[in-house]
């Protein structure tokens, strides 16, 4: 764990740059992480990001399938918003932990 300044705010991040504490997140931080990933955030992105944050706060596991059924985007749409790594990039931008398996 290390401390990094993103959008002028000091936040705790994992070795791979995921926020360790989702309450340190704000929209400016999201925009800055997104721009590092080459993604410009639109209102649709934020709608999805808020959905992911709510699910995480409720301790629900995130899957591509559940996002596809969120009513916000289908899976194809998710890829369009976050190309090349929909769950990992959206999680990083949303300030929530990286989806992992047991090892």
């Amino acid at each position: 764990m290390s401390v990094k300044t993103i959008a002028g705010v000091e936040v705790n991040v994992s070795e791979e740059g995921y926020l360790e504490n989702m309450s340190q997140w704000n929209e400016e931080i999201a925009k800055e992480i997104a721009s590092e990933l080459g993604i410009e955030l639109t209102p649709k992105h934020f709608e999805l990001i808020n959905y992911l944050r709510k699910k995480t706060a409720d301790k629900e596991a995130l899957t591509i399938r559940s996002v596809g059924k969120s009513g916000i985007v289908d899976v194809k749409g998710l890829y369009e918003l976050f190309p090349k790594g929909p769950l990992k990039f959206s999680s990083k931008i949303a300030g929530i932990p990286k989806p992992t398996s047991c090892i």
Binding site: S14, E15, E16, K59, E60, A61, T63, I64, R65, S66, K69, V75, K76, L78, Y79, P83, K84, G85, P86, L87, K88, K98, P99, T100, S101, C102, I103
Partner: protein, 416 residues
């Protein structure tokens, strides 16, 4: 007479019946367990069956052998759970319950992916998460002449999340021993960021893929299987060609959970992470693969859950508050080929650690490190499963909650 009803006589259901029977007053409580299938499979054996390491008879027994005679064992199909009326409909009768334990497990759902059950299914596309699939794959491998072997995970969560990786490792050994490793290209395809998603593990284990010459394709969420070109295709039209596809299809909870309106999108039941009580109904408890708790779907997890759940059922019967005890503890052997294995020990919040198990400093098993001892441990576990685990006999020195003695937490990732 009060009724304690268990749905499912797999690993978790059988254990619950055996744990609870000696603890309940026989004049007050009747235990009933329902499962339509007669055979109890040793599911970890499905990993070994394709490589002729286990035989058919080593992975299956008659389920009835493991249910005690004082338990009412009903072999019928479950049609619907009706929580409002405390009833369960079977194919030709209806059961009432005071307490319900749902242990209906998870199953593969290949129909969820377009093109998976097509002309190539069971010809060049196989699963090994079912007895039939694993056996068909064994017969295929015995005569296969080589080519592109693709091992593929459709989506998470899956039962025994490390099994696909173990399959890749064992395949490397299998083809080498057959003298045909140079004819086989092994590719591991995952929807996650890699074979190892936790820093401790990627640091300690990334060498395995290189050593065994296994190619990696990450962040791949399958959209369909192209049966004509023999490729798996993702949502961005990334295509991975195969000659032999070993896939782990979507895993889902039982259909009866969906029919009863008790599950999430994957038919897993919202369950309290620490007490194992269902979130929607206080007299319904859930165990094993049927829950939505973010622990591994594995027999060891069901084993640790069973100990907590047994205590909680007894507390509930007496009107006492439940223990918030289950910590997501899992303890799994991971075969790495060449007669070696790893052992991992972790829970909801703690990543797999280094150290010794079960005794600090002594072991004899090493955590997160390849050893021949661990491989023997995995093979010995089949005996433990049939003779101790299912019968509810505690495994000596292995505690339901994760122990932090003799474990090392200072592992740093290479990325630092």
């Amino acid at each position: 007479m009060k009724q304690l009803l268990i749905l499912g006589a797999g690993t978790a259901g059988t254990m619950m019946s055996n744990h609870l029977l000696p603890k309940l007053n026989k004049n007050e409580w009747q235990i009933t367990i329902v499962d339509q299938y007669k055979t109890h499979y040793y599911q970890p054996g499905f990993l070994f069956l394709p490589f002729d390491i286990y035989t058919e008879n080593q992975v299956k027994k008659v389920g009835k052998k493991f249910i005690q005679k004082d338990v009412n064992y009903i072999q019928k199909k479950i049609e619907k759970i009706i929580p409002k009326e405390n009833k369960v409909e079977l194919e030709d009768e209806t059961l009432n319950y005071d307490i319900l334990i749902i242990a209906t497990g998870s199953k593969i759902a290949p129909e969820e992916t377009e093109g998976l059950i097509g002309p190539l299914w069971k010809k060049d596309i196989f699963d090994f998460y079912t007895y039939e699939g694993s056996l068909a794959l064994r017969n295929k491998l015995r005569n296969w002449e080589g080519g592109k072997l693709v091992i593929h995970i459709t989506e998470m969560p899956i039962k025994c999340p490390v099994a696909p990786l173990e399959f890749a490792f064992l395949a490397d050994t299998y083809f080498r021993e057959k003298g045909m490793r140079d004819k086989v290209e092994i590719t591991y395809v995952t929807p996650l960021t890699g074979a190892f998603t936790k820093p401790t593990c990627s640091n300690a284990l990334a060498y395995l893929l290189k050593e065994k010459n296994i190619h990696m394709e990450s962040d791949f969420a399958i959209e369909h299987v192209d049966n004509d070109s023999k490729e798996i295709v993702d949502f961005e039209d990334r295509r991975i060609p195969f000659d032999l596809l070993v896939t782990i299809p979507t895993n889902m909870g039982d259909d009866v959970i969906a029919k009863s309106g008790l599950g999430d999108d994957l038919n897993f039941i919202p369950t309290d992470h620490n007490t194992l009580q269902s979130k929607a109904h206080e007299n319904i408890f859930v165990i094993g693969d049927a829950t939505n708790v973010p622990a591994s779907k594995a027999g060891s997890v069901a084993h640790f859950q069973a100990e907590t759940l047994t205590d909680n059922i007894l507390l509930y019967m007496d009107g006492n508050p439940l223990k918030k005890e289950f910590d997501g503890h899992a303890n799994c052997f991971i075969e790495t080929g060449n007669n070696k294995a790893l052992l991992i020990d972790f829970n909801y919040v703690t990543e797999p650690v280094h150290g010794n198990f079960p005794f600090a400093k002594i072991g004899p098993l090493k955590l997160l490190k390849e050893s021949v001892f661990n491989h023997w441990g995995k093979l010995a576990f089949r005996w433990i499963y049939w003779n101790m685990l299912l019968k509810g006999i505690a495994i000596p020195f292995v505690h339901r909650n994760m122990s932090f003695k003799g474990k090392v937490f200072d592992i740093k990732s290479d990325k630092n």
